[in-house]
Amino acid sequence: MTETGLQPEAIDLDPPAVAPERDLFSKFDPLIAEREALLASGVRDPFAIVMDEVRSPTEAVIKGRETILLGTYNYMGMTFDPDVIAAGKEALEKFGSGTNGSRMLNGTFRDHVDAEEALKEFYGARHAMVFSTGYQANLGIISTIAGRGEYIILDADSHASIYDGCKMGDAEVVRFRHNSVEDLDKRLGRLPKEPGKLVVLEGVYSMLGDVAPLKEMVAVAKKHGAMVLSDEAHSMGFYGPNGRGVYEDQGLEADVDFIIGTFSKSVGTVGGFCVSNHPKFEVMRLACRPYIFTASLPPSVVATAATSIRKLMHAHNKRQHLWENARKLHGGLTAMGFKLGTAEPESAIIAVILDDQTQAVAMWQALLENGVYVNMARPPATPAGMFLLRCSLCAEHTTEQLNRVLALFGEAGRATGAIG
């Protein structure tokens, strides 16, 4: 052996293919095959849309075509609000483009604190904690507050971020049937009395746009001594006297212990949060890993969020117009014979239920080619294996835009056999 010891082997520039049994990607073969079969049928890829220009909360240019946006979560149309944009520009110039650090160390700037102040004002709550995304807010809060030997009881149709929060933590996880008060009561009744319990609910369920019977569910949770978390991501700004969400609309402000929300829907930027009146809530900043071990939001983002949240407190006209739009679209689609996710317009999400993937993609493409973008949703994101075209409304959609949307839905529905 020479002094230089072991020599690294020369890099093989033409390595042999990985043996199939060792290729970690083999498990994705069914997914790859399904996608290839879909694209081979000649349709456009529903999961590869690029907005080349965005002209307003309701209009974008996709492949050179002016398109009405009916599949974003820009419920209150705040993304182009002049005050919101001005706040973002000012923060960008004064504080720079990013924080380069964690909230816990060097990543808390003036506007992070101000966004938390704005949330406390909006929700009338004592504590507010801003996360880098809504996903991380659920991940962090759920995985941290329920520990080993304790229980999380969640609705079967919960969002992926709630399931992932359960998976990341050490608590025992129990599911109940979607929106079933009786099922929740039964399961809570079967659990041991002593351990702490967290019941996780959502105000609006985002796939079908249905609202939870929170009043009855919270009463059942309290009867069994559980704490309650409500994810109000899809309700902020337009339910309840102050726009706080479904829990406010159903008079539960004193009973829900934790509210989870997001900046990426009604607020119109990106980020997530939890608000609470729990006297010890601030300890979360020292214990919650998805809060600590990630970079904080850029100053411009939190500045736009703070401005937008304060404007949402007084956005009564927008709120009213959003509900008018939801009623118009729901009523028009129902009259044409489409099968919808809810019998009444319960939220700003109107889900059209279709027979299968072929029909859903064909309709989705027909709408897109005529200048209307909606979301296509399929299992496993959807409940009960449904294929959906999900429309989400914006307070800024005009009557003319919705008339055009309804006309195009009629044409595409008849062409694909979705309606008679």
């Binding site: 996880v173 129990v174 599911r175």
Partner: protein, 80 residues
């Protein structure tokens, strides 16, 4: 009939409405491999079992159960 055999028979009866392929149910039958259940079917089935035996099978426990025999053992343990 032993208690365990009785539990097995009850579980077997609960499987039937979900047994679309008409698989013969024995101790070693697997839910994913033999019955080819997807996650939604598993969820409905677990809820049915929980209500039948008045127990709770947490998602943590479900992750460990692959065969009918393992489920029968878990049910008996939870009822004890």
């Amino acid at each position: 009939m032993s208690d365990r055999e009785q539990t097995f028979q009850t579980v077997k009866a609960q499987i039937e409405p979900f047994n679309k392929k008409g698989v013969n149910i024995v101790e070693t039958t697997t839910f994913q491999g033999d019955l080819e259940w997807d996650s939604l079917t598993v969820m409905d089935f677990v809820a049915a079992i929980e209500d039948e035996f008045d127990i709770v099978i947490t998602m943590n426990m479900q992750a460990e159960i692959e065969t009918v025999g393992q489920l029968v053992d878990a049910v008996d343990r939870l009822r004890a």
